[in-house]
């Protein structure tokens, strides 16, 4: 009695001659196989399906169904497993050899053969079969790893985006991983940073750089760094990280709801767009810089492009995968088809869906060659109703709480920074200050307002005090552009002047007070008339300038100008919400 071990391998012998079957069975058993027998091709296929053997020996000439046909059927049902199959025949002809290989046979043994030749053939087939199994296991492992990595990647990257529900997105990878990435993050002053990027190539190789880019983009945006600082840092990182022939084409934008402006830096992506709510193209933003990761430093002359916008405009970025998608005739989808589809999309309030369905209609199911991405961002109202302007509405108490005055005697710490001459053009002190505050007092929601106050006061001291720019220029759309051009020129030529920033912090039992002062070396201004003029115009909702100081006024407990407008002091008071 033979003990059947399920671990032993199973062979299927298909032959209409009983003698042959017995002979082959005996040889196979010597090699450690269990054997199943079928006497014609048709039962051979049935037994194959039933037993899933590790090896098949197949005769050619048999009744009912011959060996070639049976082999074709077996190879068809075996799908992805190898199902190693050897023809055993006495037909020693070229035709028989060729046809057996074409039917799917993995080898052929011509009778008569010695047991040694038989065993050698089995061994060589086993070797192939083992290799095949190894490859399959590796493939499966790789697939599982890739799926896991893909899931983690998309969780780290896109799912933490800001205002996800308000932005329209197309992200369709050519392979499992996309080399494209879409990021949005909220700045401390309420602006929105947007990034659409495309790493060279696609697949895993192209998506590795996505993690450092995401981390840098988020962390620096949160700390209040300017767009160009963030781009410079990402460029530097990718230059160090990526091999020479890999790079990152990306477009960055800072959208300010408060200034009604967008500033755009396109490094190697197709044109970006600003659409009006009627679907008209108000502005195109073409590439002004080589993709990131190629040059050790950004090209100095390439500056973000600043544009005015309306709150109902849409800002749209795409990667070249959309423009270069082809149909069966080899035609490109192209820019004008995209622009039409986007315009139609605006009219039905869904750019992404409209562009994607138009693109799919055009491509008629042609396989996708490159990653396809689009991001469509509204230019205002990113935060939900309940969250709207949270950053701009601190918890200012109606009246000063009496107990606070006991704490309001001497500051627990103070901090001073003096910036001179050319440094004023290159250094943004606000992130430095916010870092100090966060280091000493810990992070907190209330610092968002402080950030806004500091930014506005610094910009005022620099633009009006030091550079002597007239903000009434910003009243018209043309002047708006002229203002920022003039500002860039004056900054470049800045050699003297100073701004002194001082902070004193007074802790309260349930909150605190920050005393802020900015002193600049400018000539000052007629405080009374300017502020009065501002409030009038503001109430009529007419002007583009002067909003900054109005906002600071609302956020601060007190706001005073001294020394003919060259010294401004503000007190920002905050209280913990009582639970």
């Amino acid at each position: 009695m033979t003990h059947i071990n399920p671990q032993t391998k199973l062979a299927l012998v298909v032959d209409d001659s009983k003698t042959q079957c017995m002979m082959l069975s005996a040889l196979l058993k010597e090699e450690g196989y269990r054997v199943v027998i079928a006497n014609n091709g048709a039962t051979g296929v049935e037994k194959y399906v039933e037993h899933q053997p590790d090896l098949v020996l197949m005769d050619i000439n048999m009744p009912v169904m011959d060996g070639y046909e049976a082999t074709r059927r077996i190879k068809k049902v075996s799908g992805k497993s190898l199902a190693p199959l050897i023809f055993i025949t006495s037909m020693d002809s070229e035709e028989a050899y060729i046809e057996s290989v074409e039917a799917g046979g993995d080898g052929i043994l011509v009778r008569p053969f010695s047991p040694r030749v038989f065993k050698a053939t089995i061994k060589s087939i086993e070797r192939i079969s083992d290799l095949y199994l190894q490859v399959r296991n590796l493939q499966q492992e790789q697939q599982q790893d890739a799926e896991l990595a893909e899931k983690m990647m998309s969780e780290v990257i896109e799912s933490r985006n800001f205002a996800l529900s308000k932005t329209g997105v197309i992200k369709q990878a050519a392979t499992m991983f996309s080399g494209d990435m879409q990021l949005t993050a909220l700045c401390p002053n309420g602006d929105l940073h947007v990034l659409l990027g495309d790493f060279t190539g696609h697949g895993l190789r192209a998506s590795i750089g996505a993690i450092p880019v995401t981390e840098t983009f988020r962390a620096m945006t949160k700390k209040g760094f300017s767009l160009i600082d963030i781009i410079a840092q990402i460029n530097q990182q990718l230059f160090d990280l990526l091999p020479r022939d890999l790079f990152f084409a990306a477009c960055f934008a800072n959208i300010s709801e408060h200034d009604n402006s967008v500033s755009v830096f396109n490094a190697g992506l197709p044109e970006g767009y600003l659409f009006s709510s009627e679907g008209e193209i108000k502005q195109r933003f073409s590439s002004i810089h080589p993709p990131l990761g190629i040059l050790v430093k950004l090209v100095a002359s390439a500056k973000p492009e600043l544009n005015q916008l309306h709150s109902t405009d849409r800002f749209v970025l795409i990667t070249d995968g959309i423009i270069e998608a082809r149909n069966e005739q080899g035609q490109e989808y192209g820019k004008s088809r995209f622009e039409q589809a986007a315009t139609q999309g605006i009219l039905v309030s869904d750019i992404a869906t409209n562009v994607l369905s138009n693109l799919n209609d055009f491509c008629q199911g042609m396989p996708q060659e490159d990653d396809i991405s689009l991001i469509d961002v509204p230019c205002a109202a990113w935060q939900g109703e309940e969250l709207a302007n949270q950053a701009n509405q601190p918890h200012i108490p109606e009246t000063f709480i009496v107990e606070d005055s006991f704490y309001d005697t001497s500051p627990s710490w103070s901090w001073r920074l003096e910036l001179k001459g050319g440094l004023l053009a290159g250094i943004n002190p606000i992130p430095i200050i916010m870092n100090q505050v966060n280091d000493i007092e810990g992070a907190g929601e209330h610092w968002q307002s402080l950030y806004t106050i500091l930014t506005e006061l610094f910009v005022n001291a620099l633009d009006h005090g030091i550079l002597g720019l007239d903000s009434s220029l910003k009243k018209s759309a043309e002047g708006f552009e002229q203002y920022f051009k003039e500002r860039a020129i004056r900054l470049e030529n800045l050699t003297d002047g100073f701004i002194i920033i001082e902070l004193c912090y007074f802790p309260f039992e349930h909150g605190g007070k920050m005393h802020i002062s900015f002193k600049d070396s400018g000539t000052g201004f007629d405080v009374f008339n300017v502020l009065k003029g501002n409030s009038c115009a503001q109430s009529e909702g007419l002007i583009l300038s002067g909003r900054g100081i109005e906002l600071v006024n609302q956020l601060c407990d007190t706001l005073d100008y001294q020394d003919n407008g060259t010294l401004v002091s503000a007190n920002y008071v905050w209280h913990n919400l009582k639970h």
């Binding site: 495309d198 060279t200 190539g201 020479r244 022939d245 890999l246 790079f247 084409a249 490094a267 190697g268 992506l269 197709p270 073409s286 590439s287 002004i288 810089h289 080589p290 993709p291 190629i294 040059l295 090209v299 070249d320 490159d370």
Partner: protein, 102 residues
């Protein structure tokens, strides 16, 4: 689809021309076309007049060629890119990195 490379010793010129598509499939061929040129002070010309398609990996390959050229104190000129190819070079702002002759 092919890469051809002519080396003329008279005027120290290496001309590399690409036909039809310039994409990742040419990676090895492209690299082989110049990697044996180890002399200093050569004039490299990348002729893209017969190239009708180029993808971003081709841009990467050009950067590798540029590195090789810089390493051997030589010059690189991209010659006569076709309209389609020029559009791609323009988006990537490659004229800021190397000379492009139209």
């Amino acid at each position: 689809m092919s890469v051809s490379c002519n080396i003329s010793h008279e005027n120290n010129q290496v001309v590399i021309s690409i036909n039809e598509r310039f994409d990742f499939s040419l990676h090895q061929q492209f690299r082989d076309s110049y990697s044996q040129c180890l002399d200093q002070q050569l004039n490299y010309v990348l002729d893209l007049s017969e190239t009708d398609y180029m993808d971003s990996s081709a841009l990467g390959m050009i950067l590798l060629l540029k590195d090789h050229v810089d390493l051997h104190a030589s010059q690189l000129v991209i010659r006569k890119p076709s309209d389609t190819v020029n559009k791609i070079l323009e988006i990537a702002q490659f004229h800021r990195l190397m000379t492009i002759e139209h």
